[in-house]
């Protein structure tokens, strides 16, 4: 039916026909995607596997104070840069610690701790800050309204707000002005099956090997064995947040 003939129809008929057509189209879309999903789900499992809990173990002893490999790797992977301004994002940072009583100095990288009970998820008004089934805490930037309440709530100052327009984003790491961001455990790499993060890879390459990344729920993974055999701590364990990131030898 040509547009001319369509428009010749009187109002209600025209709209009814269009509605039916669109309704049919929508129904077929819903069915089609349903069929596709069923087909897919019979194949590989969905990437956010609730049986997995991703975690990171960092050995502060193996972390030299002048090494920034993890920071550079994260910056390159996700396209952010810390130029020293207070408004620059910092998904991961090196922290230098000096024990006030003993004087012992050490350094370690600090990023989002991927709590099991994240305060940032609790306070987000729209639910943009959320915890995935596999334990990764991240921001759904589609519905983030940029209120920065999660930044107030985070005990580790893990989140950054994007203060200006961004151009040249990495394809796998969309980021934009007015939303909040933080370490997402390189979720795009994990979903692609790589099983590791950019920071961990960089630490291995640098030869220091201070970071182990893996599945906390798998008793035989490298990280679980390390946690089982050596003492480790959670930061701010008094808050009882059950973190996914643990530290050794602070």
């Amino acid at each position: 039916m040509s547009m001319f003939e369509k428009n010749k129809m009187k109002g209600a008929d025209f709209h009814r026909r269009e509605f039916l057509k669109k309704g049919a189209a929508l129904a077929s879309v819903t069915l089609a995607s349903g069929v596709t999903l069923m087909a897919l789900s019979q194949g590989a499992a969905a990437s956010a596997n609730p049986n997995i809990r991703w975690g990171l173990l960092i050995d502060a002893n193996k972390c030299p104070s002048d090494c920034n490999a993890c920071i550079s790797a994260c910056s390159n992977e996700h396209g952010w840069e810390d130029t020293g301004l207070d408004t620059d994002p910092q998904w991961i940072r090196k922290v230098t610690l000096k024990n006030k009583n003993t004087g012992r100095e050490t350094s370690l990288p600090l990023m989002c701790q991927h709590c099991e009970k994240p305060p940032c998820v609790d306070v987000c008004p729209t639910g943009a800050s959320f915890k995935r089934a596999d334990g990764i805490v991240l921001v759904d930037r589609h519905i983030c309204i940029g209120c920065r309440y999660c930044m107030m709530a985070c005990p580790f100052k893990a989140r950054s707000f994007v203060h200006e327009k961004i151009e040249g984003q990495k394809t796998s790491s969309p980021r934009g002005k007015g939303t909040v961001e933080g370490c997402n455990m390189c979720v795009h790499k994990l979903d692609a099956g790589e099983g590791t993060t950019a920071c961990t890879q960089a630490c291995e390459t640098s030869g220091n090997g201070a970071m182990i990344f893996g599945d906390l729920n798998d008793a035989n993974s490298e990280i679980s064995l390390a946690l089982a055999n050596y003492p480790s701590v959670e930061l701010r364990d008094d808050l009882r947040l059950n973190l996914g990131v643990r530290y050794k030898n602070i």
Binding site: T87, N101, P119, D122, C124, P125, I145, K157, G178, I250
Partner: protein
């Protein structure tokens, strides 16, 4: 006693000049919002360490004052005090106006204000912020109904009292929610305190009544309507009581915090060596915002000293801003204690006191919110019968003032 007559404000040049002035401030705020939205928050003084700044101080002040401004109506409807009933309409209008001003500033400072619709339709009910969205918008609806009940003819007293009660309870919930925004943050030493919610309730009583008194004196002076010195004094003394209650809560908050070893460093920062935060706390909040107004408002001959009431109310407002500055900015300036017992340094300002210099844009935005609230109030009084014609002492039965 004469029946209280209400009438619209007359169309005078003074009135319209005020409207134009207020609209100018609102327009300036609008321009800054467009500028900030286009360039990003980098043009403001807020950053990744101080994430909430001057706009939030203004917004929270206005929202807290809004719920308190409703008090005068509540005292009339819910607690039955005859003397407060004539000013109930002003109180309700002012409550809505202040809330709208505060919300405007809050929403326009969001990183993505274009996503407001998402904020209003997608809720994470574990977040007090999400509840606040509902509480704030609900407040506007409920107070509108309440104002209608006050103004319409033939409304049964029972309906009016019910509306008044619901509005009163709702505003308590709203202010509890606002205080809990800070009270429920475990991460920071300056927050994470159950006392925040009742303290905000006390603050709302104080700031709201101060704003109400200022608006009443202002409009009555401008329109040359009489504002009974007896009534004014009574409300002023009530303000004095509220200021005392806020001071009490402040004392309890800080004493409790000081008792906890863990929080002593933070308390030392605010009370002793925090530089601007210590100055604003003692001079702004305690001295100018609480002690001086208390002395002024309990002056024995306050009914003849209108200027003292104005000055005291103004100081209370100033003190309110000071208190919110210490709470909001001071709470963020103190570094997070991620590694207790360690000296910390990093490229992300760990272990250092964070500094904050507000940009002029944030101040314009904040004042725009205040101007919006006042503009709505003035226009409301112009087009609706809100302001009583004659609140002189002769017009009120002596027994009603007891």
């Amino acid at each position: 006693m004469q029946r209280i007559k209400y009438s619209e404000l007359r169309s005078t040049k003074k009135l319209w000049s005020l409207v134009v002035l207020l609209a100018g401030f609102v327009a300036a705020a609008g321009a800054t919002v467009l500028y900030i939205e286009h360039h990003g928050h980098i043009v403001t003084g807020m950053n990744n360490q101080i994430v909430w700044g001057v706009p939030h101080i203004f917004a929270i002040f206005l929202i807290v004052a809004a719920s308190g401004a409703l008090n005068v109506s509540s005292i009339g409807s819910v607690f039955g005090k005859q003397a407060y009933k004539p000013t109930a309409r002003v109180s309700s209008l002012l409550a809505m106006a202040l809330l709208m001003g505060g919300l405007a500033v809050l929403v326009l400072d969001l990183g993505r204000p274009d996503r407001l619709l998402i904020a209003m339709t997608t809720y994470n009910f574990k977040s007090i912020f999400a509840w606040n969205v509902l509480l704030y918008t609900g407040f506007l609806g409920i107070v509108a109904i309440y104002l209608y009940a006050q103004m319409a003819r033939g409304v049964h007293v029972f309906a009016l009292k019910t509306a008044g009660l619901i509005a009163f309870l709702w505003r308590l919930a709203l202010t509890t929610g606002t205080g809990s925004i800070f009270g429920w943050l475990v991460a920071r030493q300056g927050y994470d305190a159950a006392i925040m919610a009742p303290m905000f309730i006390a603050m709302s009583f104080s700031f709201g009544l101060a704003m109400f008194i200022l608006v009443m004196i202002g409009t009555c002076t401008m329109t040359r309507r009489i504002y009974s010195p007896e009534l004014r004094t009574r409300q002023a003394r009530l303000l004095g009581l509220f200021v005392a209650v806020v001071l009490y809560f402040t004392v309890v908050q800080h004493l409790s915090n000081m008792y906890v070893s863990e929080h002593q460093a933070f308390e030392k920062f605010i009370l002793l060596n925090g530089g601007i935060y210590t100055a604003v706390f003692w001079i702004g909040h305690v001295f100018l915002g609480s002690i001086i107004p208390l002395i002024l408002l309990f002056h024995p001959k306050l009914d003849t000293k209108r200027h003292l009431v104005i000055f005291a109310a103004f100081l209370v407002v100033l003190g309110g801003f000071a208190q919110l500055y210490v709470i909001i900015i001071g709470g963020q300036a103190f570094p997070l204690e991620i590694f207790p017992g360690y000296e910390v340094s990093s490229s992300f300002s760990d272990g250092v006191i964070n500094s904050y210099t507000p940009s002029i844009l944030e101040l314009v935005l904040g004042f725009g919110g205040v101007a919006l609230a006042l503009l709505i109030t003035v226009l409301g009084m112009k087009f609706l019968r809100i302001l009583p014609v004659n609140l002189s002492d002769d017009n009120v039965e002596p027994s009603a003032l007891q």
